[in-house]
Amino acid sequence: MKSFVDNWGMFLLMKDFMKLLGGAKGLKAFMQHENYRLAVAVQSALECGANCRRPPNDVVSLLFRIARHKGILKESYGGAECRVEQVPEPNAPPPHVMEEYFQMIDEVVIDKMCEYVMKPPTGVVSEEEALAYYQALMSAPFYVAFRKAVYDRLAKLYRYRRILDIGAGTQDPLDMLDVCQQHGSECELAALEVDPRICNDLEKLATKRGFEVVCGWGRVSGRYDIAVVQNVLHWTTNPLQVLLDARRRADRLFVSQGVIEGAGIGFVLVKILYANQPLSWKEVEAFTKQAGWRLARRYAKYPNYLALFK
């Protein structure tokens, strides 16, 4: 019951998402595959010599942190030993729409786990490969459906005229425009990016799709009706600064952020693709309030923190 009260917005989103996953059975299979792969990855890291008390780097540390949260990695003998809870391999295959995601987890996380344990993780997946994986992940049908559901059902972006998409990436602006178009709304979208490589990609899309690209905070001009922060805070080294900058430029803020509570192995994947550490929902809310935003409505605390601020 508490979980429902805390996360009713997630349940609302799930209506759309469940259809895509193939109903309750699909959702169950998805969660089983997530936990199974998490357990396999942890087992693999330990077998390759990782110390669960002192992980060799941020990637393995995050893997262990998530596994502890899920109760898959447990400590015994006063923390002297770590053991992995046995998670049976699911009988049902993953939902069709998630097959690519799980294959990516297998290839990028599990198959290379020994390498992450034994050498600096930045050398394992090259920058070019990371960008290609990132693009594949961002444009995967399940993720597109999730974002569109957030923008349509919760953020209701079609109600606003001037929208600032902070840390836009290459796929977010396209999804936002689709939602606006579905409702016949003429959104004026500005996609803000600080990564020059993504900015270049955005500029190619912008001419075709009719949105503005802003490369760096210094180039933001005017004021926006709403700023959107969609899974951005775990990519930045200074989340508070992002929220402070948003405060100066927009009247409202919609935050959609995957958090450590209930996080799955997908966070390890994006960490390998050069993201930073995930935050807890309390940290996200505290940073947002510290930046001067007032909570107007919270839709969910975890696994995705979803809230509107004024």
């Binding site: 294959q103 297998d106 090259s126 070019e128 960008l131 290609a132 693009q135 190619k204």
Partner: protein, 113 residues
Amino acid sequence: MSLTTRLRCPICGADTSVAITPELLRQASEKGVARLLVRCPRGHAIVVTIDQYGYVRSALPVHEAGRQDCEVTDKAPTSVRARLIAILEKGAVTDADALLLEKAKAAGWVICI
């Protein structure tokens, strides 16, 4: 002694058998998964990924994409291979596809002449 498992060719749907040898299971046990190349009765090449229990995780076609004189290389990961092949065969239908193709070329997953 080896076990045999069956799958459908992702190109033509023909029933194809795969021998799961102890060597493959050992490899899968060490690395998480093992891959092998098999041919269906009609000659289509398929990359099969199995896990340590002999369960087939994926079976993806290996074929050259004629369009634009591009092909998906061996470096391309299994997870994205099917999507890249579809993009090369049908053309980049969406902006996201075009961008993925561009990134795949930069990563060496697709080469074009």
